[in-house]
């Protein structure tokens, strides 16, 4: 690490009390000790900084770090050293084996802030590895830790619900949030939307398909399919209108550079196709009942198409 190598020789010199050291160098040494997961040395060095220059910028920094370290002094800083080592590993090295080892380390830790933070860290790592089963167990363990900071409880509960969602258990996630009185959180809304989408997305897609199926049937049963299709060619204005209605809003939104561009762009071809389909159906039949049916279906298909677009491409929409 940066400071470790830089000040290894200086640290050696200090151990032997060979030379006076400026506060800035004690600060560097303290920083190096933190990066080397050596909280005891870091604490000693920050205290030296504070003693030497309490009114300086570095003195303020030392005060903050001392307070943070002293709040995590369980078992003479051994658990904290383990946690710092674990969190400081390059992400690629925090694989399942390393996480399992650290879980064993946690089980031997005394109760305290460090153990609670370590449990949160482990749960987050299982999340990162997309192992929802172990993430759920780890979040539950974190939640059960009596030293979990009250302010973090909501976050842990939400993370647990999120892990359930990733594992495909949407009702379980929603129930978890409801039980914790987190029914108004964005995550709850998101999970509820997902649950609704799981039900309504196939329905919406079916409605869109049904509309085009009905149009196709009407066109081909008219016995003059070629003529009906050619009618669009004869009336380019209809095509223009369909494109305007479909792509117009998308263009307007894209011009604004708005977050909703993707959803509108996705809806544009669907919307255009529905309007064109309706034109074709109108050409294909004069029967009032059939035309009314297609009209109703087209409205439903428009709504359904918009719904699919928002669910699939509305990630950036504030209301999606």
């Amino acid at each position: 690490m940066l400071f470790t190598a830089l000040f290894a020789s200086m640290a050696h010199a200090q151990d032997e009390d060979l030379a006076p050291v400026a506060p800035v160098d004690w600060a560097r040494r303290a920083q190096a000790a933190e990066e080397a997961a050596d909280p005891r040395t870091a604490l000693e060095d920050w205290r030296r900084v504070l003693a030497a220059t309490p009114g300086s910028r570095l003195g303020g920094r030392a005060r903050t770090r001392i307070a943070w370290l002293e709040a995590r002094d369980e078992a003479d800083y051994v658990p904290l050293a383990g946690l710092m080592r674990f969190l400081g590993l390059p992400p690629a090295e925090r694989d399942a084996g390393v996480i399992e080892n650290f879980e064993r380390e946690i089980s031997a830790m005394p109760p305290g802030v460090v153990r609670a933070e370590a449990r949160v860290a482990v749960a987050g790592e299982w999340d990162r590895l997309d192992d929802s089963e172990r993430a759920i167990a780890a979040w539950q363990a974190a939640l059960a830790d009596p030293d979990l900071e009250e302010g973090d409880r909501g976050l842990v509960l939400e993370s647990l619900a999120q892990a359930r969602m990733v594992g495909g258990d949407l009702p379980g996630a929603i129930a978890e949030l409801d039980a914790a009185d987190l029914g108004s959180t964005p995550l709850h809304r998101f999970a509820s939307r997902r649950l609704r989408a799981a039900t309504w997305l196939p329905v919406a897609a079916s409605v869109v398909c049904l509309f085009f199926l009905v149009v196709a049937v009407l066109v081909f049963r008219s016995g003059r399919a070629v003529e009906v299709l050619a009618s669009l060619k004869r009336a380019p204005l209809r095509i223009a209108v369909a494109i305007l209605m479909g792509a117009g809003p998308a263009l307007v939104v894209a011009w604004w550079g708005d977050d909703a561009s993707a959803a509108f762009a996705a809806f544009a071809p669907c919307s255009t196709a529905i309007v064109l389909g309706a034109f074709l159906a109108g050409e294909a039949t004069d029967a009032r009942s059939a035309r009314a049916l297609v009209g109703v279906l087209a409205i439903a298909a428009s709504l359904a198409g918009a719904y699919v677009s928002v669910v699939a491409y509305g990630e950036a929409l504030p209301f999606a």
């Binding site: 690490m1 959180t185 307007v252 604004w256 708005d258 977050d259 035309r291 409205i299």
Partner: protein
């Protein structure tokens, strides 16, 4: 006024959509059957219903009215007051005592220099700091009270006990007086809010100070803040980077602030989109009031200056301009009292903030680019080896939500390349992603510059082979997916809540990116110039 453009925006949008609707209706109703008319209506209504929320989330930019010209003693030109109370002035401009720079307010309902008057809720809240002048000798504080409190003062000293004991200036305690701003984003003046601002100048570099804000009998608790090292100093320092707190999901905003405070960074850079709607003061209140257990974001923001970039959701609204004190050197085409783009130094690093959400996009490659070029040309790289640029919408990103902004790339990257900018920091995409070093670009994208282990630039005679473009955002906004394989210029990308710290020790830089929720390291590198 802010509202001028917001209203213009809404009117234009309505006109465009209405024209669209009417044209379509005429065409359809002239030539079509009942069925197609019904479909047309349904589709149009659908488009409108989708369009309205979309337009709501579009930012508009504040265009203040021409500011009232003031003298440097801060004497404001009063206007008549309809309710017979003290005269009200919509703008104020003055040079704070001991400072070498002028301070101007945006156009507000009422603004004036501090006077010791108090309302029922005079206790300061939302206390936060920034720099409008040199970081080694000044800082600015903003806070909020009820609308009847006009005391905008500050007590400061290096002895905490003396500052705590004082009710006014005295031995070891100085007092600075600032100004208040009663502002609103409503065109009809509804729901005004009170913001206070004080500038403190003439401080000693690298020194810890204690201060309280408010006024006699109504002081806040004491906060601790430190000045920067002298310019060009090789003293180590660190700063945090984050952005896009809007939405405040997962309590991420409070957690990020808490983490940065624990890591003892010296200050914070915020890449924009603090709120969903820049004009929504209730969202700004959330921004300033988030908490995690006993920690409140004010605990951090009151002692660690936060430098802001305007995001497309912040919209340079009056709420943004009134509640943050940023450097105000007005350059051509710049609005927002000169807070649109600015720069400052801290130790041996130079920081540039740009605005990429402008009314007239020609400004990006015009006056703003000219200012950027001029600003960077003044940096002495022998004493200031590090240059960081921050703005909102990234030139390079592997997000699946917003593509890289190639317009900004064309306008600004040649300048970044020319002056060997070390880092360009952005948000907008709620994720973490880091580019390879990049130098030059063509129609196919950026050119990957020579890189060392872990994607760091190769340094030749103190000059980096390329600029690293970093997106570090999502401190509360919905996370976006990333596709790190999509561009050769992407070094790594992750979709998670994150924050970044930079530690600079002379010519060595150490960057660490953290998972905000667990504090695990997700990316880090070190290099020396």
């Amino acid at each position: 006024m802010l509202t001028t453009l917001v209203l213009t925006t809404l009117v234009l949008t309505t006109l465009v959509l209405t024209t669209l609707v009417l044209t379509t209706l005429v065409l359809i109703f002239q030539r079509s059957s009942l069925m197609t008319r019904s479909i047309a209506l349904a589709t149009i209504l659908l488009a409108l219903s989708l369009g309205l929320p979309a337009c709501e989330s579009t930012g508009a930019v504040d265009t203040p009215d021409a500011a009232t010209v003031m003298d440097d003693t801060g004497v404001e030109a009063p206007d008549s007051n309809v309710d017979g109370g003290p005269p009200r002035a919509p703008t104020l401009s003055y040079m704070p005592e001991g400072c070498t720079y002028m301070v101007s307010t945006p156009t507000v309902v009422d603004t004036a220099r501090s006077r010791d008057e108090y309302g029922a809720a005079a206790d300061p809240t939302h206390v936060h700091t920034s720099w409008a002048g040199p970081s080694e000798s000044t800082f600015a504080v903003n806070w909020h009270t009820d609308n009847d409190t006009h005391a905008s003062s500050l007590l400061i000293g290096t002895d905490m006990a003396a500052v705590m004991a004082a009710d006014d200036a005295g031995v070891g305690v100085a007092r600075s007086d600032g100004h208040y701003m009663l502002f609103t984003s409503s065109p009809t003046g509804l729901n005004p809010e009170m913001a206070h601002e004080v500038h403190v100048c003439g401080l000693t570099p690298s020194t810890t100070y204690y201060y309280r804000v408010g006024g006699p009998g109504h002081w806040s608790p004491a906060f601790e803040i430190a000045t920067a090292p002298t310019p060009g100093s090789t003293e180590p320092f660190s700063f945090g980077v984050t952005g896009d707190s809007r939405g405040y999901e997962d309590n991420a905003w409070a957690i990020v602030e808490h983490r940065m405070m624990s890591r003892a960074v010296d200050f914070e850079l915020f890449s924009g989109d603090a709120v969903q709607f820049g004009v929504a003061q209730d969202q700004w209140n959330q921004f300033f009031e988030q908490s995690e257990g006993s920690f409140h974001v004010q605990d951090f923001m009151a002692g660690h200056p936060m430098m802001m970039a305007n995001g497309n959701h912040d919209s340079l609204a009056v709420n943004y301009l009134a509640q943050f004190a940023l450097p105000q050197e007005v350059s051509p085409s710049e609005i927002g009292q000169g807070e649109e783009w600015y720069s400052f130094d801290y130790g041996n690093a130079h920081f540039v903030f740009l605005n990429d959400t402008v009314v007239n996009s020609a400004v990006l490659g015009g006056d703003e680019a000219a200012w950027l070029d001029h600003d960077l040309s003044l940096v002495d790289r022998t004493t200031t080896p590090w240059i960081f640029v921050m703005h909102h919408q990234p030139l390079y990103t592997c997000s699946t939500a917003h593509a890289p902004d190639t317009t900004l790339r064309a306008n600004w990257q040649p300048i970044f390349d020319r002056y060997h900018v070390d880092f360009v920091l952005a948000g907008h995409n709620h994720e973490y992603d880091r580019s390879t070093p990049i130098n030059m670009f063509d129609a196919g994208g950026g050119h990957v510059a020579p890189q060392g282990a872990n994607g760091v630039p190769v340094i030749t005679a103190g000059v980096p082979s390329g600029t690293i473009y970093l997106v570090a955002a999502g401190a509360g906004a919905p996370l976006y997916d990333v596709d790190p394989g999509a561009f050769a210029t992407t070094y790594t990308g992750l979709s998670l809540r994150n924050y970044v710290t930079f530690e600079i020790d002379d010519r060595t830089l150490h960057m660490t990116a953290y998972n905000a929720l667990t504090d695990a390291v997700i990316d880090e590198f070190t290099y020396t110039k």
